[in-house]
Symmetry: C2
Subunit: 129 residues, 2 copies
């Protein structure tokens, strides 16, 4: 099985997020996408990302690892950001935090159909002291 296509699609998806190219999001995300068991749909998913961007003005997704076995992709993403207010229930308030997200995706016909994401909240807590 050739893994190049999903790998390329995934890198383009992350570039789309980093460019905040919301009109292009439907090329990568399914209309009825589910995120952590919530059936957000494309509109809800885009709204979640836009909200993340407002609360984290310097939000940038950096791929540290990606593992591809169609129809699944797993990625370890790195963030080095300064959320303006509360983040994951923690009073970050503009401090810079560095943490990872380990996330699994199920693709359907080249688009993300389901996402299972875990953020390393303990790492953020350790940095806030």
């Amino acid at each position: 099985m050739d893994h190049a296509p999903l790998d390329a699609i995934y890198h383009d998806y992350i570039q789309c997020l980093n460019n905040r190219n919301w009109p292009a999001l439907d090329r990568f995300v399914s209309d009825d996408v589910i995120h952590n068991d919530r059936r957000l749909g494309l509109d809800g998913y885009r709204a979640m990302l836009q909200d993340d961007g407002r609360r984290i003005p310097d939000l940038r997704f950096r791929i540290e690892q990606v593992v591809v076995q169609a129809p699944r992709v797993a990625a370890r993403l790195r963030f080095d950001v300064a959320p303006t207010g509360d983040f994951l229930g923690l009073a970050v308030n503009g401090r810079r935090v560095n943490f990872c997200e380990n996330v699994f995706y199920l693709f359907d016909r080249g688009r993300i159909a389901q996402v299972w994401s875990v953020l390393d909240k303990a790492a953020i807590e350790a940095q806030l002291g």
Copy 2:
């Protein structure tokens, strides 16, 4: 590339953990294994797992998803357990909690050389109220 071998090895590794078959751990884990940037080595890794087993008497690893692209494996593991005391800094004290671990492994010659694990602490906090 054939992914069957690493997939089979990974399932056998999880069975080894669930059987608490510590003498067999060296079949799956490299002598100088690194876990979340700590160079535990095989002895330190085994000690960590044995400590987990003491603090979580009903500890059982259940594979929900596994993504294999040699030399990497990514897995989403599910736990339904009752840690006896503190767990991740939370006073669980014997309550039953259900949560996931999203974890990446780098294999070297059929054994786990490096692990990047994130536990869903926020899910546990939500259950503790």
